[in-house]
């Protein structure tokens, strides 16, 4: 036991001592025994003969001892010390560098052992690689499915929001984003999104009591065994828009078939029905006017007619009065009919689904179709001043145009077509033009009632039907002088609703959206808690630009930029970006820094509008900034007058960087970014700086974790302890 615990060095010393004993011990023992057994005379003889030989014996013994020592040392070095080095290398292989292999050296047995160990390691690596690649594959599959789902959702024309049981938003699509952006009121609607955001509560976009009521309805339906419960409600937004919401549960997989399924979240389909309802109520009013008005006119007419008929001997004066009644009542009735039909015109066609679209897109598609089918050059001219919108079923319109072109081509020699877009005050013109061939109006009329067989299946519509759907007309016209013939398609102009418009304009610039986070499904959200791990919290990373450095001396905020971090992901789309009118002139020195000029701030909202909006934006999150104490002082100075408090925890990337890398000279944002290998495009724009800070923050988290700083409370405490915390700004 004792020997096993000795270090290598002491064992070596012990071995040398034992060697010494072994070499001298037997000789000395023999000498002592001989000496004790010998008589006095004999002892004298021994002394006389042996004493001179002692130096030789000593030298030989010492030599032997020395050789033994070398031998032991060598053995020791090769086996014990070599083994110790090997163990270190083994540890390295087990730990930080698994591709490391132990070098084969030393005696054969040891080399054999090393070879066996290396083989074992290779085998282990193969297993690990295999497992890792399978895990990666499975992960990639899941990720791909999630992306596909998100992509699918974002293409839907209906607004979709998915939330978990706590009402936290896990997913929303483009349409939902645009809808709530256009519904948002206040100064932020111009520059940032409404408060639809991952991890945010659904109540920030919809009336809580109605959502709760709908969820309760679903819960009860589920308990009663309804497997597909749905709840609907209509709610009014702050700016008077009507929103219809359909809620269905996301059901949790249940093991036993007998268990009633429980909801793990909810899908909300949201529709702005303001326009539809307006149209419907307009139609109702018009229909009411038509029926009731007609009834009362008919009542008058009938009474007057019956008087005239029943009283042939009526006085002339009376007769004339009744005839006047008839005439005036008939005129009024005709007028009423005209008025009603005009106001009903667009609502009466609503049953066919038409979308707001740009006329130019339809013409482009038609041009391509005609070119493909007829193999004739088509010159498409869609240059108009402003974008022209129509309400259309694009497929049937494109079919109609290509049907017409086919008919014209069949009728005679045509070498090319021109498709031209134009407009007047009320209508959009689409002209299909060609040169040469002329035809009769009757021919064109006959095409109108012929089914368009080319594109449609069993029951092709006629051109007339398509035109009626769109409230459109066509006619043939010909210029005698230039032999230029054309068919004009006339469609009513449409005004697109804002959502569709912004959706079309902005989709072009979309990179991959960050509209979903299914990891939130089972995660409790909400309260900021000091014991929560840093990786689980929601952050608002922000930066301000100001007129100067001294808020107490009247310097003001002129820009706030912020974005959110959720589950370690920067949500670029959910940003806050707002210029602020400081109500004072900017100093030339500050303009040089941030590049914001007086004219840019003209007409921007003032801080008393912007700060409450920002306060709402960052509710329930941890604030993060670089050298954030500076920004906080600007915010805090406004708190009392605006009646808001930024009382959430605040983290500073400057301090966190000092905690993570205490030996670094500089903790400026640029220096940290360089250190962490990050690039920044633009500095001193609040949103760009906030984005940079957010990138730094997410990179600092693992470095902090290495130092055992995992929770929010630990991060705050460590920040306070750093030297930089002592600096007062």
């Amino acid at each position: 036991m004792f020997l096993r615990d000795l270090t290598a060095k002491w064992r070596f010393v012990l071995a040398v001592a034992i060697l010494g004993l072994l070499m001298t011990g037997p000789f000395l023992l023999t000498s002592v025994l001989i000496w004790l057994g010998a008589s006095v005379g004999m002892r004298e003889v021994l002394v006389q003969h042996l004493l001179p030989q002692i130096p030789l014996g000593g030298i030989l013994t010492a030599l032997g001892f020395f050789l033994g020592l070398i031998l032991i040392r060598r053995l020791f070095n090769r086996y014990v010390t070599g083994m110790a080095a090997m163990v270190e290398e083994l540890r390295l292989m087990l730990g930080s560098n698994r591709s490391f292999r132990i070098t084969e050296e030393g005696p054969p047995e040891l080399r054999e052992l090393v070879r066996a160990i290396n083989d074992l390691a290779t085998q282990r690596d193969a297993y690990i690689d295999d497992v890792e690649s399978q895990v990666a594959k499975a992960k990639a599959n899941v990720e791909e499915e999630k992306n596909r789902l998100a992509a699918l959702m974002s293409e839907l024309a209906q607004a979709v929001v998915v939330c978990n049981l706590d009402g936290r938003i896990l997913l929303y699509n483009n349409r939902a984003r645009y809808m709530f952006e256009s519904l948002a009121k206040g100064p932020t609607s111009v520059s940032s999104g409404a408060l639809i955001g991952l991890g945010r509560s659904i109540s920030s976009i919809l009336e809580t009591s109605q959502v709760d009521y709908a969820r309760e309805t679903i819960r009860i339906q589920l308990e009663r065994g309804n497997r597909h419960p749905v709840a609907n409600f209509v709610t009014t937004t702050d700016n008077g828009q009507l929103i219809r919401v359909q809620i269905a549960p996301v059901l949790r997989q249940t093991v036993g078939a007998s268990d009633a399924p429980a909801a793990s979240g909810y899908i909300l389909l949201i529709e702005n029905i303001t326009r539809v309802l307006e149209q419907e109520s307009r139609r109702d009013t018009a229909l009411g006017e038509l029926t009731e008005g007609s009834r009362s006119s008919l009542g008058t007419l009938r009474a007057a007619v019956e008087m005239l008929a029943d009283n042939p001997d009526m006085e002339t004066e009376d007769r004339e009065r009744f005839v006047r009644v008839l005439a005036s009542e008939v005129t009024r009735m005709s007028q009423r009919l005209d008025n009603t039909l005009t106001s009903l015109a667009d609502t009466l066609r609503q049953h066919w689904p038409l979308d707001d679209m740009m006329a130019a897109d339809v013409i482009d598609a038609a041009g391509r179709r005609i070119q493909d089918r007829l193999k004739l050059p088509v010159d498409v001219n869609t240059a108009t001043g402003e974008p022209l919108w129509i309400r259309a079923d694009s497929f049937s319109l494109v079919s109609a145009l290509s049907f017409l072109a086919t008919k014209i081509e069949e009728a005679g020699e045509v070498r090319s077509f021109v498709l031209k877009l134009g407009s007047d005050e009320k209508f959009v013109h689409i002209d299909l033009m060609w040169t040469g061939l002329s035809m009769s109006t009757e021919t064109v009329l006959s095409w109108e009632i012929e089914p368009m067989r080319h594109d449609h299946g069993v029951n092709p519509p006629t051109l007339r039907e398509v035109l009626d759907r769109h409230a459109g007309e066509i006619w043939y016209q010909r210029q005698r002088t230039t032999s230029q013939a054309s068919i004009r398609l006339l469609l009513p102009k449409a005004t697109p609703d804002q959502e569709a418009f912004s959706a079309q304009v902005r989709d072009a610039s979309n990179d991959r959206p960050e509209y979903y986070d299914f990891d939130l499904f089972d995660r409790p959200m909400g309260q900021v808690d000091l014991d929560r791990p840093l990786s689980e919290l929601v952050y608002t990373v922000f930066d301000t630009e100001t007129t100067g450095l001294e808020p107490s001396n009247g310097d003001e905020i002129i820009q706030i930029g912020a974005l959110r971090i959720l589950n370690g992901r920067l949500l670029h789309q959910e940003h806050f970006d707002q210029l602020v009118d400081p109500r004072c002139h900017l100093k030339a020195a500050s303009i040089a820094i941030h590049g914001i000029t007086d004219s840019m701030l003209l007409g921007q909202p003032t801080i008393d509008l912007v700060l409450p909006a920002f306060h709402e934006f960052c509710a329930d999150t941890v604030l993060v900034g670089h050298n954030v104490a500076f920004d906080m002082r600007f915010l805090e100075l406004k708190e009392a007058s605006l009646g808001i408090r930024f009382d959430q925890p605040v983290l500073d990337t400057l301090l966190l960087s000092a905690v993570a890398h205490p030996n670094q000279q500089s903790h400026s944002l640029e220096a940290i970014m360089q250190r962490l290998g990050l690039n920044m495009e633009q500095r001193h724009n609040a949103l760009a700086d906030a984005t940079a800070t957010a990138q730094v923050f997410t990179r600092l988290l693992p470095a902090l974790a290495e130092q055992g700083i995992v929770t929010l409370g630990q991060a705050l405490a460590a920040s306070q302890k750093t030297y930089f915390a002592q600096v007062k700004y």
């Binding site: 029926t291 009731e292 009834r295 009938r302 009474a303 007057a304 009065r321 009744f322 009644v325 005036s328």
Partner: protein
Amino acid sequence: MTHKILIVDDEPNIVMSIEFLLKKEGFSTETAGDGEAALEKVRSFAPDLMLLDVMMPKKSGFEVCEIIRADPSQHQPRIIMLTAKGRETEQAKGLALGADAYMLKPFSTKELVVKIKEILAAG
């Protein structure tokens, strides 16, 4: 004894025809163009029966009917409501408020006369 009939409608064209019709049938008639004038005429003229249009300015036919029936001490004429609204719920409402009959425009003048006589005979 000639029965007195009050014709209430904001459409002078139909009032003209009905007045002509009823005079020829031997009734004594007066007319009113809105709800308030109608209430005034009920007091001053004390008709045996009134033809009451529903959609009128100032006070609707429903209101007029309700006010008359609310005070039994007042003169209580028979009431036939005339309306251009076809909804059955409105007919039910008119009858519930105390109208004796309900006629939907356009009506036949013959039927109107029959209905008036029927109601007056019943009373």
